[in-house]
Symmetry: C2
Subunit: 135 residues, 2 copies
Amino acid sequence: MQLSRKADYALRAVAYVSHLKKNELGSIGRIAKARGIPREFLAKILKELTRAGILVSFQGVTGGYRLSRPAKEVSFLDVIEAMEGPVAVNLCVDGSHCGCTQEKGCEIRSFFVKQQDQITKALKRQTFANLNSGR
Amino acid sequence: MQLSRKADYALRAVAYVSHLKKNELGSIGRIAKARGIPREFLAKILKELTRAGILVSFQGVTGGYRLSRPAKEVSFLDVIEAMEGPVAVNLCVDGSHCGCTQEKGCEIRSFFVKQQDQITKALKRQTFANLNSGR
């Protein structure tokens, strides 16, 4: 019941980029060093964040990454889902069905549906504009 | 960010056992069938739940499992931790430290510390006595 290391690194990287000044770009080297992320892994993550439309990539020696939209429009949920797919705190709440015979009236599922709702809302509410400290 | 299948099965098994009448025992076969859990996997899980002091095992043809204590004293957290160890929603909140250079004043960690607190409290509050339906 733990966020993947990949998603954790993605949050750190986007947090770094969200603190950049206007027109400033974050290079892989700078982000890796500032946030303690292995460089190769970070390169892969940044590509995926770009593909997901969260970051924009600029090529060249002075290239790097910036957010594709205002930080207040990028939530923790956006970043986590770009890395892991839809958040589902238990197998039975993944949007399809639980795959067991107890789905209807299952007392365990109803608990996790509530938890799922709460964590999803919290992750959606938490944007990179309302982080509580700088880089 | 998902509960393991093993922990989910453990919750289902304990839920089944918690609905047994006094002096009634739940056999592996009955639990497996009633809760849709593969028998071999269930056997392993029941052993671990017994070792963790959540279930008591009775040997023999009429043997089986029952709770070691009243259902109101067995929480979802007890069962999940018996399967997965301490719950930590992100690497950085596992009780030691996050392993990165940003721990102090990290804006991501403070978010997950809050989530960790909420989910842990909810899992602790949810016991097998206050499940909202029968078996």
